[in-house]
């Protein structure tokens, strides 16, 4: 496993001190006991609708891909960014492979515990598409917005 972080559209290997992690359940039960925690882990069957807590105290929120096919965390990441305004790192853990990182980045992930063999190649995967058809959490203007811009300029 290699930790990669997204910055300006590229992935960089990152080295960091181990995080003080706490699971959402443990933290909810007893926040005092986990006051020093820096990273919150949220399982992918947790509904974010009933997270009634301050996420902003955590510098990292870790979401889980138990298998790459299990795509619940894509929705969770978008909700964290777009609905709950979380601006810290959202990190993907689990079955994190080259060909999914593009989708993850679009949904707001910016940290990846990369489980594929070739971390250098992972960055290339982010550059395979020049455009996006739909808005997501990465702020990329969808194709239709570019079309409007072009029509206005013409």
């Amino acid at each position: 496993m290699k930790l990669l972080k997204l910055s300006r559209g590229r992935l960089f290997p990152a080295f960091e001190e181990p995080l003080a992690e706490v699971s959402l359940d443990a933290w909810r039960d007893n926040p005092q006991e986990h006051a020093e925690a820096t990273a919150l882990t949220i399982s992918n069957d947790t509904s974010l609708a009933d997270i009634k807590c301050d996420l902003h105290g955590f510098s990292v929120i870790i979401l889980d891909f138990p298998a790459f096919k299990d795509g619940r965390a894509y929705s969770q990441a978008r909700l964290l960014r777009e609905r709950y305004g979380y601006t810290g790192e959202i990190r993907a853990r689990g079955d994190v492979l080259r060909d999914q990182i593009f989708f993850m980045a679009r949904c707001g992930f910016n940290g990846f515990e990369f489980s594929g063999p070739d971390a250098d190649d992972a960055s290339a995967a982010l550059e395979e598409f020049s455009f996006a058809y739909q808005p997501a959490a990465d702020g990329i203007a969808p194709v239709w917005r570019k079309r409007l811009g072009r029509a206005a300029a013409a």
């Binding site: 795509g71 894509y74 989708f103 455009f131 808005p135 239709w144």
Partner: protein, 551 residues
């Protein structure tokens, strides 16, 4: 028709380049088959019994002559000279070599076609009414909405790893030719009492081992909110759909286990949060897409054609073809002409390279360059002048494409079954062929009227047997092929699921069984009743009796 601009063209070209890389990594051994599988599946490449199969998207079933011609060339160059139109308005090639697939995709990209999201647990190619833009029944052309859905769903980052595959169908006519009630989402465009157009949103229909007719979760959705509403449905499904059991992962299971009301509430709550987040297209983009579907250059003609009447009187076979295969067009003097891909004794949906090129030529000359694929595995020439119908018929006949059997007993849907599919219990294609031969006489078929027979080789129901007026399902009985007959299904606006008629039949018995069922209908039918109407009026008993009476 929609035409790619540079953005669309770039997206498709980049997808081919990406896939080329993935194939190269597979061929060099960097990727194992296990790792490659999800990648190839995202691009319509399946491993079948004998070889790879490539499924090419025909978005909402609409093609130009140029595209059809290319499909024919591809069949010749990369396959064994034929293609197979499916129940989802797609075309499949059964024999491409893996190493050739990227080149094949490049050739398709050249004519604005692709295999994106034709498999995998993502939003699949959206399907629609094959008569869109040609039928007087519709209140508006559904294709622009299909194109909007195509773009929105393409490489959707949040919904590319759903619990299971996801199929959306759209219609804008009261007569449902798109089977919207047996899709994950079915959309019916209509005008409400206030005169506004919008969608009835139906969710949770589907076939497979647990078939359901969908539930309406919203009676009226203003059409400008289409994409945000779809996004809300998909988000609820992505988060809450089951992932522990592949057979319980479709949205139909979620909707039916929670109850449609509760599901609808969750969707409405989600939608309320996102409806003004900039997901929906602005008016300018909607207008841009609509412009591509502006009516083609129709001529002003008189409603009736003397030439047509004259030829009909002179050529009985032609007259029959006109009765069976053509329907009314919205413009006076035009007709919609169906091309049956169900020749007597043939393989449903198969078409050769030469036939594809013939269809391309005919459409170019006589149908304003447009062709459609239907979910019943046929083709349509949507805009033919009545004056030209005879020439079209002659040309189709020349290409062996003029079987006059649309909607009739030999217009059978059949899945690939045991001849191609590794999941099959039994063969489907030979059963279809034998039924078709049994009822070969077209005069008799016409007299029987609409009878929809649908055959699946296993419970996955790729052949839609649950919604056949007569459904035939392949089952395995101690290693022998058996067939279970269902009765009274429909995939149209009067959707219903067929009921099992009784114990399984051997492949020898099943063709006789169909004949017996048709016999009961013939004996009891009143006026212009269809087989299905007679069945619904009488109930199953007389049909069951005929099937299982002591031989």
């Amino acid at each position: 028709m929609y035409r790619y601009d540079e953005f669309d063209a770039t997206m498709v070209a980049e997808r081919v380049a990406q896939f080329r890389g993935q194939v190269a990594r597979r061929l060099s051994g960097d990727l194992t088959e296990d790792q490659f599988k999800p990648l190839r599946l995202m691009n319509g490449l399946y491993l079948q019994l004998h070889a790879y199969m490539l499924r090419v998207a025909v978005p909402y079933g609409a093609m130009s002559s140029k595209q059809m011609r290319r499909l024919g060339e591809v069949a010749r160059k990369y396959d064994r000279g034929y293609g197979h139109f499916t129940t989802r308005q797609n075309i499949q090639y059964n024999w491409p070599a893996l190493v050739d697939v990227p080149d094949l995709l490049d050739e398709l990209a050249d004519v604005e076609m692709h295999a994106i999201q034709t498999s995998g647990n993502c939003i699949r190619n959206v399907t629609s009414d094959q008569y869109a833009g040609a039928t007087a029944e519709e209140i508006e052309d559904p294709r622009p909405y299909c194109e909007m859905i195509r773009q929105w769903s393409t490489f959707h980052p949040e919904f590319s790893f759903l619990p299971r595959k996801f199929k959306i169908a759209v219609t804008a006519a009261p007569h449902d030719r798109a089977a919207v009630k047996v899709h994950d989402i079915g959309l019916i465009l209509y005008k409400n009492d206030e005169g506004e157009t919008g969608f009835e949103v139906i969710v949770g229909g589907g076939l497979g081992r647990t078939p359901y007719v969908g539930h309406t979760i919203r009676k009226f959705l203003p059409k400008e909110y289409l994409l945000s509403y779809l996004e809300a449905i998909l988000r609820v499904y992505n988060l809450e759909g089951r992932r522990d059991n592949m057979y319980k992962a479709r949205i139909k299971i979620l909707v039916n286990s929670e109850g449609a009301d509760k599901f609808a509430e969750a969707v409405e709550a989600e939608w309320a949060q996102i409806k003004d987040n900039g997901i929906d297209l602005p008016r300018e983009e909607i207008a841009r897409i609509n412009d591509y579907f502006a009516p083609p250059a129709f001529e002003t003609l008189s409603a009736e054609s003397a030439a047509l009447e004259e030829k009909k009187a002179a050529d009985k076979d032609f007259a029959r073809w006109v009765r069976a295969n053509t329907v009314a067009h919205k413009i006076p003097g035009y007709a919609i002409a169906n091309i049956s891909l169900k020749p007597i004794g043939g393989i449903p949906g198969d078409i050769s390279d030469v036939q594809m090129e013939a269809v391309a030529d005919i459409a170019e000359k006589y149908s304003l360059d447009e062709i459609r694929a239907t979910h019943e595995q046929n083709l349509v020439l949507p805009h033919v002048k009545k004056d030209d119908l005879y020439a079209v018929y002659k040309a189709l006949k020349e290409a062996d494409l003029a079987t006059a059997n649309i909607g009739m007993v030999s217009d059978i849907i059949a899945c690939p079954g045991l001849d191609y599919c590794s999941l099959a219990n039994a063969r489907s294609i030979p059963i279809a062929q034998r039924i078709s031969e049994r009822f070969a006489d077209l005069g008799q078929q016409e007299e029987l009227g609409e009878i929809k027979i649908k055959i699946s080789g296993c419970i996955n129901a790729c052949g839609h047997h649950h919604v056949g007026h007569i459904g035939i399902l392949g089952v395995d009985k101690k290693g022998e092929e058996f067939y279970q007959v269902t009765l009274g299904g429909s995939g149209a606006e009067d959707a219903s699921l067929g009921e099992i008629a009784g114990r399984g039949l051997s492949s020898d018995q099943v063709v006789d069984a169909v004949e017996k069922l048709v016999g009961v209908y013939r004996q009891h039918r009143q006026d212009n009743e269809r087989f299905l109407d007679t069945y619904r009026r009488l109930g199953a008993d007389p049909f069951k009796e005929a099937l299982y009476e002591a031989a």
